[in-house]
Symmetry: C2
Subunit: 330 residues, 2 copies
DNA sequence: ATGAAAGCGCTAACAG
DNA sequence: CTGTTAGCGCTTTCAT
């Protein structure tokens, strides 16, 4: 009690105990404490190693978890370590709740997981899995990018998508919708891609094979945008003079002075904080969906938190190089 | 016993138990096990989030640890989370041994840590700390890079160093030694840098301000090399025609088709395996009773394992430009 | 205000 | 081979 600071012991006993503890270099064993308390105080976080945006999220996750009295347990997704495996290790560690950063698990897996313990998905929606999710309004983000480009006079705007990656479907949808709204539906062009540099390189080659076709490209994320950017430049295309490029995530990459990429920013600190809060709420209230298990269809108490994106305009976007310059007409 | 796979129970009982366990989704509680066994079976790994080379190391660390019967516990170093803090959390988790990826802790901190439990440092030497270390013969790596460049006719070879980053001192030394050995000591030029893209950008500007000076640059690592590469190219310098560039780490970055960077490769899988082995050895050989009180360091001399680097030649190195056509920046 | 005792889930040692 | 038992270090409850 003394060591834990619980009121009860007298000041005299307190002194005594404290001194003895110091003498013996006594440290309470967290293992025994966990065993007895029947709660680990552990918050499992699944992330992808080497992913810049995940590093940003982790940055905010640690203080948020600490503030709620949880300890963070990391599990890495790697080329040779699947998400299922990473999740498994978190469950085995007796985490009380799980935060999954940009997972690609399907709804069934997510639902099965959420039946065991509170799960919050970050960076994508999880429509039918019945789990809480925190993500950016990605459709709004790509729409904002399209709007910027249109206001700069661009019409032939392509989108290199992120395939099945988290958020890709909505970014694609936002692009399509915005193009349509601007009367540019005939110009819609979605190039299949991915969330890495290689995809950007491939997309660049596709674009280069269509000379004079596009004056702007919205990439699926920053890494893709960088591959695109470098490949186009090496092929002699001037960015942003000939082609404007917009990325997504506003990662460290985008902010590098020599990249200086216009990009859609996600509020990583807020996402992290909300993710921890969401788990905390579940843990305090009815913990799992064990009892009244509505698989999310009825909108029950499954939370989907949407954050607004923010377009950060930098040096890779400029007025369209079209024959007749079109003033910013909105 | 069945669940743990210990010989003893009959096949019949085994069947029974296994089925019941599956029915109940039973999982042995690692907490109780740890408490009773008086050992956690945990191997702590400190890494830097977002660092490509660390991701590569982690990749190999997981299977290696599993093979030795250890579970990996990750602790991330981040902008707002110091190494000391990350290490602290690993110790609190009752890890039996620690693997530190490219730490920058000083000798005193390392020594204090190693007095508590077995510690292996990966990616740099730890001369006076009395801890085991696994790292590449970095001096040899940069020497090989210099040798390649010299054999291509380069003489004015600069080195952008990595300041106090892991391995930097030796890479710098290797560069200096190799230059001297080739009779180029008068050409030695070390530009202070770091292990990130920004440092490459700064170094590029330094080089650009010295027209006609250098025809080749050895960067402190791949990220630095990429910043350098892009900045020089954007300034109109042809790589490798005007200037050759060599990186260090052979990370995913270097292998990207549009970067195609000549780089010094470190054998990450071997480093990971050896790191786990080293910890395992210490843990087995240590019984605390050697008359001394140095817990983790019992079990013999400090081991420093050196691995040979390998130069991977790609597209950023080429014969030196003839003196007549001295490039603006080189 | 303090002490005593029970028990968290597991493992190891021992008895049938 | 199988069943029983003690106890890891802590927290909590109940008696003083």
């Amino acid at each position: 009690m003394v060591i834990r600071g619980v009121p009860g012991p007298s000041a005299a006993s307190r002194q005594n105990v404290l001194r003895a503890a110091a003498d013996l270099d006594f440290r309470p064993d967290p293992t025994a404490r966990t065993l007895r308390r029947q709660r680990s105080g552990l918050l499992g976080v699944l992330f992808t190693a080497g992913e810049p945006f995940h590093a940003e999220l982790l940055e905010a996750l640690y203080p948020a978890a600490e503030q709620c009295g949880y300890e963070v347990v990391l599990s890495a997704v790697l080329a040779t370590r699947t998400e299922n495996r990473a999740v498994e290790s978190l469950v085995t560690s007796r985490c009380e709740g799980l935060i999954l950063l940009g997972p690609q698990l399907d709804s069934a897996d997510l639902a099965a997981l959420a039946a065991k313990l509170p799960v919050t998905v970050v960076g994508r929606s999880a429509p039918d899995a019945g789990v809480d999710s925190i993500h950016t309004a990605d459709a709004m983000g790509s729409a904002a990018a399209v709007d910027l480009l249109v206001s700069l006079g661009h019409e032939r705007i392509a989108h290199v998508d992120g395939g099945r990656r988290p958020g890709s479907a909505e970014r694609r949808r936002g692009y399509r919708t915005a193009m349509r709204r601007r009367g540019l539906q005939s110009q819609v062009r979605v190039i299949p891609g991915d969330h890495d540099e290689e995809a950007g390189v491939r997309a660049a080659h596709t674009l280069l094979a269509e000379p004079g076709r596009h004056t702007a490209v919205l990439a699926g994320n920053d890494r893709c945008a960088v591959g695109l950017l470098d490949t186009l430049r090496r092929a002699g295309v001037q960015v942003p003079t000939d082609v404007s490029i917009v990325g997504y995530d506003d990662s460290r990459l985008a902010r590098l002075p020599y990249i200086d990429l216009t990009s859609v920013q996600q509020d990583a600190p807020a996402m992290a904080r909300l993710a921890v809060d969401t788990i905390g709420t579940r843990l305090r209230g009815d913990s799992t969906g064990a009892g009244s298990d509505d698989t999310g269809s009825a909108g029950g108490d499954v939370r989907e938190i949407l954050l607004d994106p923010r377009l950060i305009v930098r040096g890779t976007t400029a007025p369209a190089p079209s024959p007749r310059h079109r003033p910013a007409a909105g």
